[in-house]
Each structure stands twice: as C-alpha cells, then as structure tokens.
C-alpha cells in the first residue's frame, strides 16, 4: 500500500473537510416573507376577506412551509391565553357580599376539585344551606342565581348587569322575585337545590359559560320549572352567548323573562315547554337553537 490515502486523510483534516458535514455555504440574502394577518383588513387576503362575511373560522391565513406565519401564531396564542385565564380565575369569596348579594358555595372546596367533581358542584355546602334558610325570602315566583360556572371573569363582568335587568324584567311582569344571591364553584344543577330550598316556582341560574378560543366573558342562563334535586337537562331551557358581542344582557333579560312566563303559564319546562307562539320574539332562546358566531377580534397589536 502506498501512503497516499493516509496523506489525503491528513490533508482533509487540515482543510476542515474531515467534519461530518461540509462547511456551510455562504449565507444568501434572505428577503422577509409576506405577513399573513387576521383580521387586519388592510393585510387580509382576498379569500380571508370573502370568508369573513360568512364565518369566524381563521381561513385564508396562508402558510410558511407547512406551518403558520408568526402573526397567526401570536393571535392564536393570545386567544388561547384569554380562554385559559378565564378558566383559571376564581371568584373571590367576598365578591358576592361586595355586590350586596347572599354569598353561597357548593360542596366544592378548590378550583381543581371544581373541574374534576361536577357532582359536588351541584350541591350546596352545609353553611350555604343555612345561609339560605336564614337570609333568603321563601315562596317566590322566580329565584335568580348569579354564579361563576366555568368563567368567573364573565360572572364578574356582565353578571350584575344581567341579574339587574332580569330582576327588573320579572318585577315588571308582577312576579315575586327572590333575594339576589351569588354561588361559587357552581354547576348548572345547583339551581335545583337552591330553588327547592327557597320554594321557588322557577329557578334561573346565570353563570359563566365554558370559554372558547379568544372568549371568556360569555354568560349562559339555565331555567327550570319547579326546581328540586333530581331534575335533569331535559327539564331545562337555556340561552347561551350572553355578552356584548352576542346577545347583550338587557336584551337577554327580556327573552329570559319571556321563557319564565311560558313556564309559569304552562307549568312545565324543558322538552315539554311549547315555545312555538314565542319563537319569533325569542330567537336564539327558543330552545336548542344554534349559537350565533362569536366575533373574532385582533388581540395582538405590535408596533413595527
């Protein structure tokens, strides 16, 4: 064997060519890729613009490789953060009192337990049962209950507004409305025990709904006739998407009062309730109707 191969090995190493990868090519000039932005109108593509008249889905957003542009990522992460923040927020213990409401709590004792044990969120704690007996007016026509549900942010946001409008709408119809109250760690079915305890003909729980992407301020209302423990979902009527961009609280309160009226007249609620004569006025609230789309707003503003 000649020494040639060994010599070339030495030379390769000396020239840096023995590295597993050859030295990088000189850097090319890198022009910035186009921005894809939702929903800033001046930057929106033609497809996104046409689609936005029909859907809030993020379409026409383009791509970089097979992934999202940075603007899309930031908008998406901001929407996600808003939803997660709404879920994580706990209603302060003294919030009810600060609003002049009777403060109640379910059997749940922590936020994690609230998420994991819906059964405990449907029943009142012993102290709350006692508080109810001591402070709440009994034998009422309608018992409104404000509650945190899955968004304390929504409850603290437009909750009082909805409660006041709803109470006023009921009183305007001549019904006896129960003492205003607010329940912590509450699931929908908690209205059954509360309504039963105060002897209400109808119970209406107004609570924060499960946040969606970019939204955490929506309230839902669930109404039940002859509330008592053991009622199921088919016994209730509901209305969702109550917030400034959906159905505003004042308008929602009128529709909810209409629903209560129908229940008091027909002495039933849920699947048995006939809303055909009210369908036009109720719109979304006329049972199981689809929800109006949430509007998407630009959450991230960056100065360039």
């Amino acid at each position: 064997m000649s020494s040639t191969r060994a010599l070339m090995q030495v030379l390769r190493a000396r020239l840096g060519a023995a590295d597993p990868l050859p030295p990088p090519a000189p850097a090319p000039e890198i022009p910035p890729p186009p921005h894809y932005v939702f929903p800033s109108p001046q930057m929106m593509g033609r497809y996104a613009e046409k689609a936005s008249a029909h859907t809030t889905a993020l379409v026409g957003i383009g791509h970089v490789g097979t992934r999202y542009a940075t603007d899309v990522v930031l908008q998406f992460q901001a929407e996600l953060a808003v939803a997660h923040q709404a879920v994580a927020t706990v209603l302060p213990e003294d919030w009810a009192a600060s609003q002049g409401l009777i403060g109640l709590q379910s059997r749940v004792t922590s936020h994690r337990q609230f998420l994991l044990r819906p059964d405990l969120g449907r029943r009142l704690s012993d102290e709350s049962v006692k508080a109810l007996r001591d402070k709440a007016q009994k034998g009422v026509d309608v018992q409104p209950i404000l509650a945190d549900g899955l968004s304390a942010v929504a409850c603290m946001g437009s909750g009082m507004d909805l409660l006041r409008h709803f109470t006023a709408a009921c009183e305007a119809r001549g019904w006896k409305v129960g003492t205003p109250m607010c329940a912590r760690y509450a699931r929908v079915w908690l209205e059954d025990e509360i309504g039963q305890e105060v002897g209400a003909r109808v119970a209406a729980i107004l609570l924060g709904e499960r946040p969606g992407l970019g939204t955490g301020d929506g309230l839902s209302a669930y109404i039940v006739h002859e509330p008592r423990i053991g009622k199921t979902d088919s016994d209730r009527n509901m209305m969702s998407n109550i917030h400034a961009r959906g159905t505003p609280p004042a308008q929602a309160a009128q529709k909810l009062a209409m629903l209560v009226g129908a229940m008091l007249d027909q002495r039933t609620s849920g699947v048995g309730l006939d809303l055909s004569s009210l369908a036009a006025e109720l719109g979304d609230a006329a049972a199981r109707a689809p929800r109006a789309p949430q509007q998407r707003v630009r959450l991230v503003e960056v100065k360039r």
Binding site: M1, S2, S3, T4, R5, L7, M8, Q9, V10, L11, R12, L15, A17, A18, D19, L21, P22
Partner: protein, 220 residues
C-alpha cells in the same frame, strides 16, 4: 459528500489468455520468445491503472506490454466494459499472470484512486505517491527502479497551478511533465525525489487543486 474522499475505481474486466497466438502477442508489444500468457484489465480510471500495472511488476515476473488510455475518458466509453484504459501484462506462464493480476486488482481496489477536489464531485485529483517504482513506470519515467515518485494528475488549469505549487513545496525534480490534453483531457506530472519530498509535493498538489476548485475566478 466532502472533499478529498476517495473515488473508488471500478475494475470493469479481468481476463486471461493462457496461450496467446504469436501474432496477437507481437501486435500488443509482447515477445513470443519470452511471453506466452496474457492478463487483460479494463478500468474506469486510467492513472490508478498505470500505477497498478507497475505494482504488478513488483509482485510477479510480468511485463507491462500494453497500456493505453481511451479518448475523452470513461464518460465516453465505447462499451460497457471499456472504461478509459486497457492494460495488458504478459508472462511466461499463467501462474505469473495470476499473481500479477492479484496485485493489480488489489492496488485498484484498496490503494490508487482519484479523490474529489470539490463537494459536488465535479473536480478530481490524483495525488499518488509511489514509494518504490517497479520496472514498468521506472522505464517510462526514465528513473532507476526503486526510486520514489509522485504521480500527479488533475484537470488542465488545476494541474498547472498545482504543479507549480508542488515543485516549490519540496526538493523534487520533474522526471516528466505532460501538459494538457492527455487522451482523457487531463494534465499530469511525474516528480522524483526522496519519499518525504514526494509526499510533501503530493500534499501541496492536492491542496492547490482544492483551492483552485473553490475559487476558480480570482477576479471575483
């Protein structure tokens, strides 16, 4: 792929003629008085084959009677088995041919070869060092058998610049210089000196070829 990796030659045919016809022997440069058997090899790299033929003469009683490169190289071969060179060794009997072919093929498969001078493999260099010449190349180079020699090949412009670098890099003298074009459009040089000087010359040659391949236009 990175630079200075071997480009292994492909041996395309290895055949023997135990008792060749005298006319054939004569026309291929053999002497019917001394030679009866022939060994034939084709390969896709010519210069490694010249080195390997010389290697054969060091391991067996064989003569290299015929060795010619084909025009324009193996990329334009006349057939699947042609490659760019036919080498013929001749001997008195088949056993010597066998021994010679063994050394020849071993040299092609494990030793002499071109190397990549750029990442893409579009420039090749042959910076081979022979520690001790056999009687074939010593005759061709006009050097005593046993001398050390650097056998250097590259494409025309690379070869020209690299040869200058090699001559200046060590105490070597030019035994033969073949300016371009060779049959295969390369250029080559045979430099003689002691082994250390030949190695230094081969290194300088290879390095210069790589450098030219990387920066072909000094004006940019």
């Amino acid at each position: 792929m990175s630079i200075l990796e071997p480009i292994p030659p492909t041996v395309l045919s290895v055949r023997r003629i135990h008792a060749a016809h005298p006319s054939l022997l004569r026309s291929y440069g053999a002497d019917p008085e001394r030679h009866a058997s022939l060994g034939l090899v084709t390969c896709d790299q010519d210069d490694p084959t010249y080195v390997a033929l010389d290697e054969a003469t060091k391991h067996a009683k064989v003569d290299v009677v015929f060795a010619k490169s084909f025009y324009a190289g193996s990329a334009h071969a006349s057939g699947r088995l042609s490659g760019e060179i036919l080498g013929v060794i001749a001997a008195a009997d088949p056993d010597e041919i066998e021994e010679g072919l063994r050394a020849l093929v071993r040299c092609l498969e494990h030793d002499a070869c071109f190397y990549r001078a750029d990442e893409k493999g579009t420039v090749a260099v042959f910076p081979h060092v022979i520690a001790s010449l056999g009687h074939y190349l010593s005759r061709e180079a006009g050097l005593p058998a046993g001398t050390s020699m650097a056998y250097l090949v590259a494409p025309p412009v690379e070869a020209t610049i690299a040869l200058d670098a090699a001559l200046k890099a060590a105490d070597v003298r030019a035994a033969k210089i073949f300016p371009p074009p060779s049959e295969t459009n390369f250029a080559s040089a045979w430099l003689a000196g002691d082994l250390v000087a030949c190695e230094a010359a081969a290194l300088a040659y290879a390095e210069a070829v790589v450098e030219v391949a990387r920066r072909p236009r000094e004006d940019r």
